[in-house]
Symmetry: C2
Subunit: 225 residues, 2 copies
């Protein structure tokens, strides 16, 4: 989005707000913390002062790209976590998928010019921790229904709201391909949603990948065998 | 633990296994992934080959300290997340606490000679994602009971199992003080458990901290105001 805005409105002072924020909780004044990303530190600080309250706490960063990547990719990962839940694969598997999924997110953000740490902040990790464990989340609940065997078209037909991760999964895989970043989990989600890949077979493929080192998230470096 | 083992058994070839592993799920053959940390890459690879299966996937790292820190500090953070749940503060608050808590864990691990990325792996983030969202976890459920107003002594009296985070919270705060690392969430947990600090007041104190930048996790650097 920041690239589009910069093209359409050159010189606009842009900031990105992203993080774990169920709207109803914010409206009720429950404590909430978000990432506020802004390339201009003065504008960023002014925004924090304008919208921050003891119960709505913006954390400032200048990493606009990292914050945007977190907000987008987490929806794809939430679908993956939902599939694991819907399929009854257990909490260990969901926690592992969340962790390895965040490593993918970091690799993509870094390759795109963002920072890994941002993905480990409120946008990214924080948002995913909220999204990937609650049926309130549209992406997670879509994954649960898929995991239980309902066809995608069927699930979407009953929904009036947008489930962002469906379209995002295809965009993410495309971007990752262009940047040479290995994202097996996002690729698996896109494959199941858009190329009719079978869930069971996809899971078996993920589990049969060779064992690897844990730190495979530098830019453009696929997981080492 | 690795320091103790090295003292007592000099030259022992030590490895640490840590990660999101509800034992019952492992026993049922559900997919599980863990961090296997070993300073000697040959020993590490031999262990991965010996215990790895398609459904029990060890990810290798040489960062023993980081893996140990994740396994220990996550118990303290799980208590904090439980308190938020027990007090009805909402999912936004829990996700924020988890995220800012992991930033504390990273600061401590780095100050102690480990790596931040390890804390973002299966030991640390992965384990916390499991522990801090499930009443199956002893630390999380202790936090929930505290948040609901039950006194600590009362909760512990009914338990036959060990709730590690209670003792760990004091050790973590002590270590953080020695290394000059700012850990407000762990300090708050230790204060509530061991110094009779009131929960409501502690929460208000955390919420009234000055706004800060998001990336405050380099070694020994307290959150910048």
């Amino acid at each position: 989005m920041s690239e589009l805005v910069a093209e359409e409105m050159p010189g606009a002072r842009l900031a990105v707000l992203s993080g774990p924020t169920f709207a109803a909780e914010v409206a009720h004044g429950l404590p909430t913390a978000v990432t506020l990303a802004c390339g201009d530190p003065d504008v960023g600080r002014a925004l924090v002062a304008a919208i921050g309250t003891p119960c709505f706490r913006p954390y400032l960063t200048d990493d606009v790209i990292g914050a945007e990547m977190g907000g987008a990719v987490k929806n794809v990962l939430a679908i993956a976590c939902g599939i694991v839940e819907g399929r009854g694969l257990g909490d260990n598997a969901r926690a592992a998928l969340l962790t390895r999924g965040l490593a993918e997110l970091m690799r993509l953000a870094v390759a795109k010019g963002g920072r890994a740490e941002t993905c480990m902040g409120l946008s990214g990790l924080g948002d995913l921790a909220l999204t990937a464990a609650s049926r309130q989340s549209r992406n997670y609940s879509l994954g649960v229904a898929l995991g239980q065997g309902r066809p995608l078209a069927d699930i979407l037909k009953d929904r009036r709201s947008v489930t962002e991760g469906v379209a995002t999964s295809a965009s993410v895989v495309q971007l990752a391909g262009r940047l040479g970043v290995d994202m097996p989990i996002c690729r698996a989600v896109a494959g199941m949603l858009h190329q009719g890949m079978a869930i069971e077979e996809t899971i078996q493929n993920l589990l049969s990948r060779p064992f690897t080192e844990e730190l495979g998230f530098s830019a453009g470096t696929p997981d080492r065998p």
